[in-house]
């Protein structure tokens, strides 16, 4: 049982990751997670290596602030013992490996397709024939929703099994948004193309994903981001968090028919994203982050403008959030709705808001700090009920927290340095990993290069990859009419999942 330990944004020679027999690999990674809530699987994937499949598993340890990486070489025809049969959180990773390469996992609860990728092993399986669970009973009925939904949102299919108004079971089937992101990272050779792919992984989480890509690329190239770069990226990440959290609170108000809250939170998002446009020309920060260079330096004039924007934002945000969270008709919809227990959260391996709302402290900003988060000494906001209310409370409190960080950072705007270190090109035969706490939760990008320094593997994991299962658990035994508010309280990404 061998593994190597790295820290966030570290690049190592691929040969440094020890190769185990599958049995040892199994024991090791199951052992890491068993009875230790401080460890969780941030990424587990395979990629082809001369006819075989190399499996790499990355387990983050939030207490020792490092990541344990181990590997194993298997054949596509192998039948392996499923790690999910012991620890459920490997469930989707194993399904993905099965879908991509055909490897069978013995004892897996349900080896169903994840996203019907264009490069899947079994192209006879098509998205129109997904094998849904069914329960035979005169009393039960099924409700199918999607892939196209009533609102202006992305596609995905939800299949409910209900007893009257009550949801017994929800199965979420995704894949409609699959655009071939991971294979495009390998096919497109220019850095300028790759960074635009990263920006398109999830358009509502541009900063998070582009930052993860930039960090992976820079560590492959041995480039250390100067302070001014880290500064811009920290600011952008927190601005994105403020904007989306505010928008999510608006959406929650819409779903409980609180018009004023919906309108006020909705309009409060605008000055924040308009500030991003002032800074970089795009309301969603597309174009802002580029590996190795500071496209749009944060000037003292921008700092002055940001202060103005925040000064105007804060009192209005405070006023409406106070009202929302003391209004009985809203609270009765939020409280005890869509509950996920701590035990379920741990077993699913949830991250981000979904984990923190159920009492699990998972926040990369404090456990594996990147950019300037070390200096900010971030203390995650934790709630304990695991319901819609807790997930909204987290947003309500993270917005002022992020504003405080921005205000703190404004005191020390770094000088823009003109003689820049060149970015260089990626090291050959290397592996790099980057973790970023986006507004939804932990984003993880991994890359492997070949002997020429060309990418041979690029793996993207959006927090939604873990958290869709949490939504399915949350709605059990709830009224089907509460599904929209449960769904909004998670606000998960379809395209980030489908890639």
């Amino acid at each position: 049982m061998k593994y190597t330990t790295v820290i966030n944004n570290q690049c190592i020679p691929i040969s440094q990751i020890p190769e185990n027999s599958y049995d040892a690999f199994f024991e090791l990674n199951v052992g890491f997670i068993t009875d230790s809530s401080e460890r969780h699987c941030v990424n587990y994937f395979g990629y082809p290596v001369s006819g075989n499949i190399k499996l790499i598993c990355c387990i983050a340890n939030d207490q020792s602030h490092d990541i344990h990486i181990s590997s194993c070489l298997v054949k596509p025809t192998d039948i392996l013992t499923s790690m999910s049969s012991k620890i459920f959180c490997f469930e989707k990773f194993e399904r993905e490996i099965h879908e991509n390469f055909g490897i069978l996992f013995k004892g897996h609860p349900w080896l169903k397709p994840v996203r019907y990728g264009h490069d899947r092993a079994d192209t006879l399986q098509t998205i129109a024939n997904y094998p849904f669970y069914a329960i035979q009973s005169e009393e039960l009925h099924e409700v199918g929703v999607g892939p196209i939904h009533a609102g202006v949102i992305e596609p995905g299919h939800f299949r409910f099994i209900c007893n009257g108004e009550q949801i017994l079971h929800l199965e979420i089937q995704l894949g409609y948004q699959h655009r071939g992101i991971e294979s495009l990272f390998l096919r497109k050779k220019k850095l300028s193309e790759r960074v635009q792919i990263a920006e398109s992984i999830a358009g509502d989480n541009v900063v998070g994903h582009t930052l993860a890509f930039a960090a992976v690329w820079e560590s492959l190239c041995g480039f250390r981001a100067p302070e001014e770069l880290d500064f811009s990226r920290t600011i952008a990440l927190e601005l994105e968090r403020i904007a989306i959290h505010t928008g999510d609170l608006s959406a929650a108000c819409t779903d409980v028919a609180y018009q004023l809250g919906s309108a006020v939170f909705g309009r409060l998002r605008t000055p924040i994203i308009n500030f991003l446009q002032e800074w970089c020309g795009n309301r969603l920060a597309k174009g802002l982050i580029r590996p190795g260079c500071n496209q749009y330096p944060f000037t003292s004039f921008l700092a002055f403008r940001l202060k103005e924007v925040l000064d105007a934002f804060e009192p209005d945000f405070d006023e409406v959030r106070r009202e929302l969270f003391k209004m009985p008709s809203a609270l009765s919809r939020f409280e005890r709705t869509g509950t996920v227990t701590l035990a379920d959260t741990l077993s699913i391996g949830s991250v981000g808001i979904a984990a923190r709302a159920s009492g699990l402290s998972r926040d990369i900003r404090s456990s594996h700090p990147h950019a300037l988060f070390k200096g900010l000494k971030h203390a995650p906001i934790i709630k304990h009920h695991g319901d819609v209310y807790s997930r909204l409370q987290i947003r309500k409190q993270e917005v002022p927290q992020s504003i405080n960080y921005l205000r703190e950072l404004m005191h020390r705007i770094p000088e823009c340095n003109n003689d820049k270190e060149p970015l260089g090109s990626p090291e050959p035969d290397s592996f790099a990993i980057s973790l970023v706490e986006g507004w939804r939760g932990e984003i993880c990008h991994c890359a492997v290069t070949d002997t020429q320094g060309e990418l041979v593997m690029y793996k993207v994991k959006d927090p939604s990859f873990h958290n869709w299962m949490a939504l399915a658990m949350a709605v059990r035994n709830n009224e089907i009419s509460d599904f929209p508010i449960c769904n909004k309280s998670f606000n998960l990404s379809y395209c980030g999942h489908d890639l």
Binding site: R179, S183, V206, G266, W279, L284, K286, D316, E319
Partner: protein, 250 residues
């Protein structure tokens, strides 16, 4: 109750009175202008990650451009992005900006189908289909109807079912997995109906144009009534595009 009125009062007036003349704040990248300066054209063509620029004479295709601003940054003497957000067009060729041409991108009313002016002038109900969209254009379509942009004041709204709609708005490069649902949705929309493409991904496939996971054959079958470029398209681009399509007369 009183507190609600107080909150309402504190908001002041939020809506943009005239969305046809509002200013886009900051360094917004709208319609580019290409001047006649001499540059190394092949370098310029190569710099664009989306193959949106072609040489001799230099042209820039807004249907392919992701508005990353790289070309203007490297060749400031040649390309300049203005804050003009009215860049929607009903003819694909109108999205191609030519060297030395500073004319606005406009809707050509002669090419607008008669029934659009006839039936949708005062009320246009749209069904949105995200077919691999990254949720940025979807975001801005939602924003087009928030209290600031308030598109519904013009009778333009998004509806929940294709059966209630006068047309569909497509975002995203159209993934293989969404090709069939998109077709079903289109077929379920009653005639006459329009098709609007929003965002670079929808218009040309964008960065996904040559991805093996997309299937754009749907677009070959039908006439496209409106192209709204952007990455994502700005709410003002969206609203002005739809208004010009339905209301601008010969």
């Amino acid at each position: 109750m009183l507190e609600h009125i107080k909150t309402l009062y504190h908001q002041g007036r939020q809506f943009i009175p005239d969305v046809t003349v509002a200013k886009a704040p900051g360094i917004f990248r709208g319609r580019p202008v290409i001047n006649n300066a001499k540059v190394n054209e092949s370098d310029l063509v190569n710099i664009c990650p989306l193959n949106a620029i072609s040489a001799n004479p230099v042209r820039l295709d807004l249907g392919k451009c992701s508005f990353c601003g790289e070309c203007a940054k490297q060749f400031p003497e040649k390309i300049n992005f203005t804050t003009d957000y009215k860049i929607a067009a009903n003819e694909r060729e109108s999205l191609i900006i030519k060297e030395g041409d500073d004319a606005q991108v406009t809707i050509n009313p002669i090419k607008v189908r008669k029934e659009i002016h006839h039936l949708f002038r005062r009320s246009l109900k749209l069904r949105q289909v995200s077919a691999g969209g990254d949720n940025s254009c979807e975001w801005e379509l939602n924003a087009a109807n928030n209290v600031q942009f308030d598109m519904s004041r013009f009778g333009i709204e998004f509806v929940a079912s294709p059966r209630h709609a006068d047309g569909i708005v497509i975002t995203g490069p159209i993934t293989k997995n969404m090709a069939e649902p998109l077709q079903i949705c289109y077929d379920a929309t009653p005639d006459p109906k329009i098709i609007v493409l929003v965002g670079t991904d929808a218009i040309s496939g964008g960065i996904f144009a040559d991805s093996p996971a997309i299937d754009r054959s749907f677009l070959d079958k039908y006439y496209i009534d409106l192209y709204i470029p952007g990455n994502p398209a700005h709410p003002l681009t969206i609203i002005n595009g739809l208004l010009d399509l339905t209301r601008k007369m010969k």
